[in-house]
């Protein structure tokens, strides 16, 4: 319950935060909302020696209409993603998925950037932004670069972020009226998904990503490929686990996860096709 001791540094800007992380090296961590990191620290599963608090970098909390995409500041809280009129209009799948993260208290503090940077395959927003073909803007000592969501997730809790890089913005293409569905299957509402599906369909194109079906969020490319080649929803859904490497855990065996993915993808596509 009591984290191991650490030094606390508060950054006023992204530049300052990156400089601080650079100074303190591998043992330092960014702290945004803290709702991924602090629980691990309380159980002493994470013991960073320096925390760089970026929670007060106010200019990183925004949702902006940027023409063909929506730009979301990394420090935008789940609750603000959920309630954003801009997102509800242009990327309703993401706004809806954000309403399923954790519980109300968690959504008041947790941020979309923190969730994505933590790269937890069981989290809702990494997979959802992956399905939507988002691009992540990251900033390091030498400036900004963009990483496509599909290239971002490298392994369990591992991403393409360099240790001294910070996620600053998420660019999500507008959905342009696409049908969509978010399926979160769990035993208790507050928990991570046993399997989750974020999906959209629009005039022959589609995006489907899976939550908790491998060591990273999984883009179900085989499903989209099947759909574009004219397969039925049911047949396409049968390809749901083709790109996944699910693990077994307390709530699901590998076989059950695989089965669930197919069922939930089918249900998602049915809903998205309405």
């Amino acid at each position: 319950m009591i984290p191991a001791a650490f030094d606390y540094k508060r950054a006023g800007s992204a530049e300052e935060a990156i400089a601080l992380i650079g100074q303190h090296g591998d043992e330092a961590k960014f702290l945004a909302g803290g709702h991924s990191l602090i629980p691990l620290m309380k159980l002493r599963l994470a013991q960073p020696t320096v925390l760089v608090d970026i929670g007060r970098v106010k200019d990183l909390s925004y949702v902006k209409d940027a023409g063909n995409h929506i730009a979301i500041g990394a420090l935008t809280r789940h609750m603000d993603v959920e309630k954003s009129p801009v997102l509800k209009q242009h990327v309703p799948l993401l706004a809806h998925a954000a309403s399923h993260v954790g519980d109300a208290q968690v959504r008041h503090r947790g941020t979309i950037g923190g969730s994505i940077a933590h790269a937890d395959p069981a989290s809702d927003l990494p997979a959802t932004t992956l399905a939507l073909g988002a691009t992540y803007v990251v900033q390091g000592p030498n400036g900004k670069r963009e990483i496509a969501a599909k290239d971002f997730y490298r392994g369990f809790l591992e991403s393409a972020l360099a240790p001294d890089e910070m996620l600053v913005e998420i660019k999500v293409p507008k959905m342009n009226g696409a049908g969509w569905s978010f399926q979160k299957f769990n035993r208790r509402a507050q928990d991570w998904a046993i399997v989750g599906v974020a999906a959209w369909r629009n005039n022959g194109t589609s995006g489907v990503a899976l939550v908790n079906m491998g060591s990273t969020p999984v883009l179900a490319a085989a499903v989209s490929a099947a759909l574009s080649s004219g397969a039925s929803v049911a047949d396409a859904a049968n390809r749901a686990a083709d790109d996944a490497e699910p693990q077994s855990d307390l709530n699901a065996s590998v076989e059950y996860r695989t089965h669930l993915a197919k069922v939930l993808v089918r249900r998602a596509l049915e809903e998205a096709s309405k």
Binding site: M1, A4, A5, R187, R188, A189, L250, S253, H259, V263
Partner: protein, 804 residues
């Protein structure tokens, strides 16, 4: 003794709001960890990461030199501190094996979480930090987590006893030698079922917390603990530490739930007291949740084999039960007795002849010790008989309610030929005080619209249906109100089952009730005040209830086993009677009449036939206080102590019905409706009764659908926190429909029975019967708890070969 009291003030039976609430709702209430104790040192316990390991060496030197650390102790260091091992109060058989168990392990750790060293520091953070610096060298040994494997003695956990078997306890009742075997041979129908009662973690929302405050020069120690049992704890602490009992005081301040898990004597309580005395300073400890899941007892943990024999009409002719009980690594306070509490309930609410054969063998494993968890033995028993009854109904091809109706003990069987309520003497010799099972069941059926549901089920559960409807019922008896002391003696329990009350009318006519019960959410302050107000004819607001401090309420046996009202509440009524008897003598003296000529109603003594000649109890209280003019031989003050030893258990009963929908694609179970019709006799406060049922039902439902303490092969608890152990939240459970029938108990003057465990006793089987009912059309006739989506899906796979 009349069954139902004449209502003099009509306090009893009202939905009175709880007086406990304002303090709890505003943060004013103080739980142990809220107490400000200047100079307190903080205890932290290093726990074994191995399920079974020899402790080769412990190096505490680094930890001892850390900032804020006052001392570090190993089990060896403290061994001479203990006057006796930790207590087990229930040696169920003369040959029961009970290996010595000390607050810190000495040579061997026997479960993950077993304490191996203790740190004292000036802050909680410093005490926790130091744990990481203690260097223990272990020699890991094989874990024993499977009960049947444990029985092979392949790996012996406690070398001192040479076996993993603790005891075998039998209860065989036959009208004639061989009656059980004969019944099975001649039965028209038999079923043989195996059920696994998974381990559960009680998970009271307040983890345990302890603070021991010594008075080194005064010689006394006060132990504050989040306990259900301050009185038992006081005696046991005194014995275990060799402290004269009169120098121990135990206080249970606000306690945040217990469900049996705080009915125990724990290592940390003993460590805090021992170290507080050693250091001459207060010592406190607070449990973290991940620690609670390992260091506080678990519940359930049984493998049940049950066989039913029935005649051609489905009338039960014999029941045979074989249990294996999982004791965990050690015997805690009442660990071995838990299966016995169920032994009397495997005949359910049915008119079973004397053909009953029960045997329980209990084994040690390398897991957290088990002990009483809400219902303790009785939910397990009810589950077995009620799920087996559904199996029997399926075997016979008849409706499960019809089968139960053919077997219920009938209302008239609780009366003798002359119509006197004599109770029903069951096959095992215990007397069920009162009951009307059919009435409760009928009421439940109406609430659920059972007939309508069965019709709907026929149209819904067609081949290929994605969602299948299931209806499950359970009719239960709860043996509670623990307990008649003589019955406990026959079961070898180490204490009695009485409860004490003192009622005191103060000079200004305000009333103090002192009770030996120790509430932790049940609303005793409200209900006990209602009982005294009713009896004495005063306003409930004028009654204060004192409890949970052995200096204020020195006599008591505490709160567990749905005993508080049926034993402790009745004791209060008895003490009130004694107060009234004494007041009557003073009133007669004042009114110059014979005591027999007085009647007492609404707080006033009046001469029969001359209502103007009257004196209120308030005036008598003042007269008793001044003592200026008391009759000869009457002591001053208006106070009486009464100890109630119940002459029987109380036997609440009822029928619960659960309606579920099972998604055959995902295996997910949705509870659509839950109806509970319970009968706990007369109700003191229906508001509180309903609350007890709601909470109990959800705990039972949680066993059926969500909860399980899962261990891996190495004996690691995989569900060690609230993110992994699935206590359901509001959105994971349905609203509960509650209703009641009222069949007063005939064995106590209030006509009351317990209700704290009833919901839990009924719910798990009702839910599982519903789930199996939904799936039986597909060929699934058994399913282990919890009916998680994965488990249900696996069962569906096994009967459909993967084809939906």
């Amino acid at each position: 003794m009349s069954i139902t009291q004449e209502r003099t003030t009509n306090v009893i039976g009202q939905r009175m709001l709880r007086r406990e609430d304002p303090a709890l709702l505003t943060g004013e209430a103080k739980f142990v960890n809220d107490l400000v104790i200047p100079g307190a040192l903080h205890l932290a316990v290093l726990r074994s990461p191995y399920a079974h390991a020899r402790i080769k060496s412990i190096d505490v030197s680094d930890a001892a030199s850390m900032p804020g650390v006052v001392a570090v102790y190993t089990g060896k260091d403290l061994h001479s501190t203990w006057a006796a091992p930790m207590p087990c109060a229930w040696p169920v058989t003369p040959d029961m094996k009970n290996p010595a168990h000390y607050p810190l392990a000495v040579d061997k750790a026997c479960y993950v979480g077993d304490g191996v060293a203790a740190v004292l520091a000036t802050s909680e953070a410093a005490s926790r930090d130091a744990l990481d610096a203690i260097d223990v060298v272990y020699e890991p040994l094989a874990a024993v987590i499977d009960l049947e494997d444990a029985l092979t003695d392949r790996t012996i956990i406690h070398e001192s006893i040479g076996t993993n078997k603790s005891y075998t306890w039998n209860l065989k009742v036959e009208s004639a030698e061989g009656a059980v075997d004969k019944a099975f041979k001649t039965a028209a129908f038999t079923v043989s079922e195996r059920y696994v009662q998974q381990r559960l973690i009680p998970m009271a929302m307040e983890p345990r917390a302890v603070a021991a405050v010594p008075q080194p020069f005064g010689g006394d120690v006060t132990l504050y603990s989040a306990t259900q049992v301050p009185h038992i704890l006081k005696v046991m602490t005194a014995i275990t530490l060799g402290i004269p009992e009169h120098q121990m005081r135990v206080v249970a301040p606000s306690v945040g739930g217990g469900f049996g898990s705080k009915l125990d004597v724990y290592a940390e309580e003993l460590l805090c007291v021992a170290l507080a005395r050693k250091h001459g300073a207060p010592v406190r400890w607070v449990e973290e949740r991940s620690e609670n899941t390992q260091a506080t007892i678990h519940g359930r943990g049984q493998i049940q084999n049950i066989e039913l024999a029935a005649d051609k009409d489905g009338k039960l002719t014999a029941v045979r039960v074989r249990l294996i009980g999982d004791m965990g690594a050690y015997l805690q306070l009442v660990t071995p007795g838990v299966p016995l509490l169920g032994a009397f309930l495997y005949g359910g609410v049915y008119d079973l002849p004397q053909a009953y054969d029960f045997s329980c063998t209990s084994v040690f494993t390398t897991m957290t010790p088990t002990d009483a968890y809400r219902g303790a033995g009785r939910p397990e028993a009810t589950y077995a008989i009620e799920v087996a009854m559904d199996a029997l109904a399926r075997t016979m091809g008849i409706d499960p309610y019809e089968l139960r109706k053919r077997n219920y003990i009938k209302k008239e069987q609780f009366y003798d030929a002359a119509g006197n309520p004599v109770g029903y003497t069951a096959f095992h010799g215990l007397n069920y005080d009162s009951g009307d099972h059919l009435a409760a069941a009928e009421k439940a059926m109406q609430h659920a619209d059972y007939t309508g549901l069965r019709k709907k089920q026929k149209t819904q559960n067609v081949p290929g249906a994605r969602k299948r409807l299931g209806i499950g019922m359970t009719s239960y008896f709860e043996m509670c109100g623990l307990a008649p002391s003589r019955v406990l003696a026959s079961l070898n329990y180490g204490a009695g089952g009485w409860e004490s009350a003192t009622v005191r009318v103060l000079p200004t006519s305000k009333v103090q009730v002192v009770t030996g019960t120790s509430p932790h959410g049940q609303g005793h302050e409200t209900s006990w005040a209602m009982i005294a107000a009713e009896k004495l004819g005063v306003a409930p607001e004028d009654v204060d209830v004192l409890h949970s401090d052995t200096a204020i309420a020195p006599l008591g046996l505490d709160t567990y086993g749905s005993r508080s009202l049926a034993v402790g509440g009745v004791a209060i009524a008895g003490a009130c009677d004694k107060v009234i008897d004494k007041a009557r003598l003073i009133a007669a003296h004042q009114l110059e009449c014979a005591a027999e000529d007085l009647e007492f109603a609404k707080g006033v003594f009046s001469v029969k036939g001359s209502p103007d000649k009257a004196v209120p109890i308030a005036a008598i209280a003042f007269a008793a206080f001044t003592a200026h003019n008391l009759p000869d031989g009457v002591e001053p003050n208006l106070e009486a102590q009464y100890t109630h030893d119940p002459k029987n258990f109380s036997w609440p009963f009822g029928t619960h019905i659960c309606v579920v929908e099972v998604d055959t694609e995902t295996g997910k179970v949705d509870v659509l409706k839950y109806v509970a019709v319970d009968d706990c006799g007369n109700q003191i406060n229906p508001l509180i009764v309903e609350g007890q049922v709601h909470g109990g039902v959800v705990q039972g439902m949680a066993q059926a659908l969500y909860e399980e303490a899962v261990y891996d092969q190495d004996g690691n608890l995989k569900t060690s926190n609230l993110a992994e152990y699935l206590v359901p939240a509001a959105c994971d459970v349905p609203p509960i429909t509650t209703d009641f029938t009222v069949t007063p108990s005939t064995t106590n003057q209030l006509g009351v029975k317990g209700i704290g465990e009833a919901g839990t006793i009924g719910a798990a089987s009702a839910v599982m019967n519903a789930v199996i009912d939904a799936l039986s059309g597909l060929g699934i006739t058994s399913l282990d708890m919890p009916a998680s989506p994965n488990n249900v899906w696996k069962a569906l796979q096994s009967v459909q070969g993967g084809k939906q």
